[in-house]
Symmetry: C2
Subunit: 388 residues, 2 copies
């Protein structure tokens, strides 16, 4: 049996059409889209084609798309850009305490520069309460940043409701939609947000490539100052090879989503049901229905997630203990702790993220090997022995 | 006769070895370097291989290289990162007034956040006076940012001298080496700088891909906050496809530089001499000897640079009127004005940047067509008619 890859949140393999588009571009175009001469023209055309492809995916206008180096840059740009752009109006920002680190650490930097942040608690599903958002708004509030989908537990936040509150109070609304865009339908107009971050490597595009949606009229200062690229909102020569790949990935995500979605959902249900049946003292994290269709986070008591991951890796089943963004950090996930999970259980977490090429046979293989791996690890655990 | 490309500053075609490395990577590796499982390992190896290749090119340690999205990000990171990292020590920064827009506009943003900037004049060659730098230092100075080579006129600044002054006064020294790195030898230890920006698309690597050299111990706050990538100094999933290309480009630049350099120099001299002989009222901008070997900026009186560029483009000779970064902006080049050139002459500027694949025949073709194009344009100029 070959390798089974179930960590698509860390990065997806390139879609064959993406690879094809990137290689074709590399072999035919090398110009700079900003050049006025004949070598610049095909580059400018390729850039605008990709912009259109990404815009359609999220129901935006092409000029509302700013290409960048990924979700982290988009989140930094949205938050710091509004902070500087709106500094005369106020210096208060609202976010949840289970946002991605690129949001939380951007806010940490702003605190150094005398901005104030309200960090909202979530319930045990990871849900933000819109009423709590409204209560936190002051006359000094300039921005609300709440993710569309959490990247560790998959919970979908009530963005439509929160955006309505933001609009009512004339506060700018940003959503980190990195874990959701390209997987589920994302429509910036339906969501009602001013700013939305997305990343190509969540939907079979290249890594380190993303975009920030900026609704027309939203005052966002550049994060990268310099030349006049991207409508003067993001300076720097574009990584056009990657952008072309992102455009192709956006188009394929849009076209294939109707086929991908029900398959992902069915596989996730099969996996969750199978694990709950086969492994005692296991729990599913996140909201049971308001959740991403391809992400399953489970916590297994008396087991250390890292060991579990490595032993399954030995059996060629590749999963994550937590987001790749947080690997290398040894602390327990701030997201799981934020949902009220105790530290020990949080340490025993596996995150499965399914992809379009996974099959029921892959799920069955997980169900075949994981109970045994868990039992082996538990047999070595003094805490487990004591409890049983 | 085929197309003659003489605008390599806007971006170089990919070196065949770069293309090969990128395509091979796209076909064999898709993991995230931060993942601890078997899919992450080859990605982490590819990342560290590229880091080593870039480090060797500039005589740095691998851990002193931070990959990013290009020269603009490197300059923003160096300047804003030191500004935040050193905010307790002081809030004064020194730069020249002919720096790249990514430096100048980063400083503009810092001014909004209550930092102070001294902008130094240059002489008519575009040279910064080290004594003027020293005079500008105050007890509040935290950073000096002076480019290694100017990207519009090619003048090489006395960085070694300025870095010594910076060190003497315990001020951090950054140099924007984007236009120089990969073209001429760049050695961070010889230069004595703390920070140095470079970009892959200046030496046959992919666009939108670069690195910031950060000497060990230099206090630079992240520009992109978030995960723990790049030693916690630059968050965000790496654009590994592009980084692998940059590594290969750095290696080829190092290996081929001894062969490329004398050829570029000889072609540039042939071009300069030929143009001065054939076109009356033409001047060469920048320093005659302390200059980049592949960049020639000339200003032609009574001619509008944009028209000249477009007419030569019709004859399949592709040059720039100014840096691609500044295209789209209609103002005269701040660099040329900074060297004391009058507005009208500055408008008649062409920038040739030669590449490794150019030949003497390409230069001869320019010498063949450009005098006629200039004369045609002048014949339409009322000012020229009046003066002659």
């Amino acid at each position: 049996m070959g390798l089974i890859f179930l960590d698509h949140l860390a990065g997806t393999p390139l879609h064959p059409k993406v690879k094809e588009a990137m290689i074709h571009h590399m072999e035919t175009v090398f110009g700079n889209p900003s050049s006025d001469h004949q070598i610049g023209q095909p580059a400018a055309q390729a850039l605008e084609k990709a912009r259109g492809q990404v815009a359609v995916l999220i129901n935006a206008q092409p000029q509302e798309i700013i290409f960048n180096s990924g979700g982290t840059e988009g989140n930094n740009h949205a938050i710091k850009g509004v902070a500087i752009g709106m500094r005369e109006k106020g210096r208060h920002i609202i976010a949840s305490n289970i946002e991605h680190k690129s949001v939380l650490n951007s806010l940490r930097t702003l605190r150094l520069l005398d901005y104030k942040v309200t960090s909202l608690d979530v319930d045990h599903y990871g849900l933000v309460d819109p009423a709590a958002v409204e209560k936190a708004i002051t006359s000094d509030t300039i921005l609300i940043s709440i993710q569309l989908a959490n990247n560790e537990i998959g919970t979908l936040e009530p963005i439509v409701d929160i955006a309505k509150i933001a609009q009512k109070h004339k506060v700018i609304m940003h959503t980190d939609a990195v874990a959701a865009t390209g997987i589920i339908p994302v429509d910036v107009k339906e969501l009602g947000v001013n700013l939305l971050s997305l990343a190509a490597n969540q939907f079979y595009g290249p890594p380190g490539t993303g975009a920030l949606y900026v609704r027309k009229g939203t005052p966002v200062w550049p994060l990268l100052d310099g030349g006049v690229q991207e409508g003067k909102r993001r300076a720097g020569t574009e990584n056009l090879i990657s952008i072309v790949g992102m455009g192709a990935a956006a188009e394929m995500a849009r076209l294939e989503m109707p086929e991908r979605l029900p398959r992902l959902k069915a596989m996730k249900e099969r996996l969750a049901k199978g694990l709950l049946e086969r492994i005692p003292e296991i729990r599913v994290n996140g909201h049971p229905t308001r959740c991403l269709p391809h992400l399953l986070s489970v916590s297994v008591e008396y087991v250390e997630g890292e060991s579990l991951m490595l032993m399954m890796d030995d059996d060629d089943v590749v999963v994550a203990t937590r987001s790749a963004c947080a690997s290398g950090s040894l602390r327990a996930s701030h997201v799981l702790i934020g949902t009220g999970l105790d530290f020990a259980t949080a340490q025993g977490t596996l995150v499965f993220t399914l992809g379009k090429d996974n099959t029921d046979a892959d799920i069955d293989r997980v169900l075949e090997i994981m109970p045994g791996v868990v039992q082996n690890l538990r047999n070595m655990s003094p805490l487990y022995k004591k409890a049983h």
